[in-house]
């Protein structure tokens, strides 16, 4: 049943998402050539048109990112908060499966959107010249060299830096999920269905994250103090790159863990509300 639910959840967003993805990918080629024109410093109308193209590409990228995330959130809203909830909750599907399907489709849309943006950037950078090759090859070479250098200097901590990027992504996804849960929570928890309060939901997510931050900071500061002043990493003198990397990594881990704990709590709360306390008036 999860497969079927997921199929319909993704199908509901597929058309708009596909059109936007195609537009972004087409624009990545056009934008790549536009950036190439700017790099080659051509004059006149071509230069003006190139600036316009790059601007449109930039705006489209932002719109696409927002839409990619927004479509998943909208699916939560549509299924749980509009009259479509009458269909959602009368389907012969376990409520848990319904919630899982919405969560998965939101995550898939989010990850796919990020993937398309990365592909678009790769396309653009492969067109833009840099020295004898393209900007892509230069970027890949410099990233490779940077990683090698970092590994030589910091060893294990290079892996930690890479992990930070992954954690940041997970953190962004958990923020999206939190937003979705806050929508679902307000749907099923209320005695009567209230109108969508995007502002209130955003404020809730923001407050939760500020709260997590407030809880994280003192703990991280304490650990950082211990690390630095006890030379726990056996590096004497000033704060080394390895030490600062460790502290940043620790902060992110703490922040993400708290975000995940809150998400798990909200997930359980949502599930209880749609299974045992549903009030669709």
């Amino acid at each position: 049943m999860l497969k079927k639910c997921l199929k319909y959840d993704l199908k509901a967003s597929l058309l708009i998402w596909s059109i936007l993805s195609a537009a972004v990918l087409v624009m990545s080629t056009v934008g790549g050539f536009a950036i190439k024109t700017l790099v080659l410093e051509l004059d006149g109308i071509v230069f003006g048109a190139s600036i316009l193209c790059v601007f449109v590409y930039y705006i489209l990228g932002i719109v696409y990112l927002i839409a990619g995330i927004g479509l998943g959130i909208y699916r939560f809203y549509q299924s749980f908060r509009t009259d479509e909830a009458y269909l959602t909750f009368t389907l012969p599907v376990k409520r848990k499966t319904l919630l899982h399907s919405k969560m998965l489709s939101t995550a898939i849309l989010f990850i796919s959107t990020i993937a398309v943006i990365l592909i678009a950037l790769i396309i653009s950078f492969s067109i833009v010249p840099d020295g004898e090759g393209s900007m892509l090859s230069s970027a890949l070479t410099s990233i490779g060299d940077g990683l090698k250098e970092s590994y030589m200097a910091n060893g294990f901590w290079t892996v930690v830096y890479i992990a930070q990027g992954v954690i940041l992504g997970a953190l962004a996804l958990s923020a999206v999920m939190l937003f979705c849960f806050s929508i679902a929570m307000r749907t099923s928890g209320n005695k009567t269905r209230s109108k969508l309060g995007i502002g209130k939901n955003l404020a809730l997510v923001f407050l939760v994250y500020v709260g997590i931050g407030a809880m994280t900071v003192p703990i991280v500061l304490l650990i950082a103090t211990i690390v630095i002043y006890t030379d726990a990493l056996a590096i004497a003198g000033t704060v080394s790159q390895a030490e600062s990397g460790f502290i940043i990594f620790l902060s992110l881990i703490m922040f993400t863990m708290l975000a995940v704990i809150i998400n798990v709590f909200l997930y359980k709360d949502n599930l209880a509300k749609i299974t045992r306390k549903l009030n669709l008036t």
């Binding site: 199929k7 319909y8 009458y86 389907l91 599907v93 549903l278």
Partner: protein
């Protein structure tokens, strides 16, 4: 035919606000193979009752049994519910809705649904948002009645439908449903729906049943139609 009631409600209670019970100790038993009209004034709790049965609301107290088993998530397999509002995604095509029902409900008869759509001149490739309110209601009713469910809950099924189509829809209801299944219909258009009803229940505020019985028997005994009896009972 099974002797187990399709639906049995005992002491059902529901309130949206503290101290204002919409249903207070509501009792109703529906035997298999009956078409029951649940009739009452606005706000007496008819829709609330249907939503409780299909799980869109959680009762504050009491018991709901579907085919002898306590209502659960699995009960949705046995119930076909038509809400009083349009509840399908308006961007969907009629054919997509048919596929959705076909995918999720093992008892959905695709051929019957397509035939009924054709009879009511509803194009399968039409998007719901391009159809009128009445046409949307017809689509919903067809989808719900194309299932071979055990219990159909129809909340105002013909409210927005033109009189010419009402007859077709009522005939559809009678001819399509499983003889072992039961139907509960709530409506204000009593005169229209009366010919198809086996039983009726007049419901008043607080979920009290003030009169119920076999439609033919009551008509013969009183010499009045259900519509006339309803007007007498609930005269303002």
């Amino acid at each position: 035919m099974s002797n187990v009631p399709v639906l049995k409600c005992e002491n059902l209670c529901k309130s949206y606000q503290a101290g204002k019970a919409v249903l207070d100790g509501f009792n109703l038993t529906i035997e298999p193979g009956r078409i029951v009209g649940l009739l009452g004034p606005n706000g007496c709790g008819k829709s609330t009752f249907l939503k409780l049965v299909c799980g869109l609301l959680v009762p504050d107290g009491g018991k709901i049994e579907i085919e002898g088993k306590e209502r659960s998530e699995e009960s949705n397999l046995l119930i076909s519910f038509l809400p009083e509002r349009t509840y399908f995604d308006s961007r969907s095509k009629v054919s997509e809705l048919i596929s959705l029902f076909d995918d999720f409900y093992a008892d959905f008869d695709r051929a019957v649904a397509e035939k009924m759509m054709n009879d009511l001149h509803i194009p399968l490739d039409a998007k719901l948002k391009t159809l009128s309110k009445g046409m949307k209601e017809k689509v919903q009713l067809i989808m719900v009645m194309s299932r071979k469910a055990k219990l159909y809950l129809l909340d105002e099924p013909i409210g927005g439908v033109d009189p010419a189509s009402r007859e077709y829809i009522l005939n559809t209801i009678i001819s399509n449903y499983n003889p072992e299944a039961s139907i509960i219909i709530t409506t204000h258009l009593i005169a229209d729906i009366e010919p198809v009803l086996d039983d009726f229940a007049f419901m008043t505020y607080g979920g009290n049943i003030v009169r119920m019985g076999n439609a033919d028997t009551v008509r013969e005994a009183t010499g009045k139609t259900l519509d006339e009896l309803f007007r007498e009972e609930f005269r303002c």
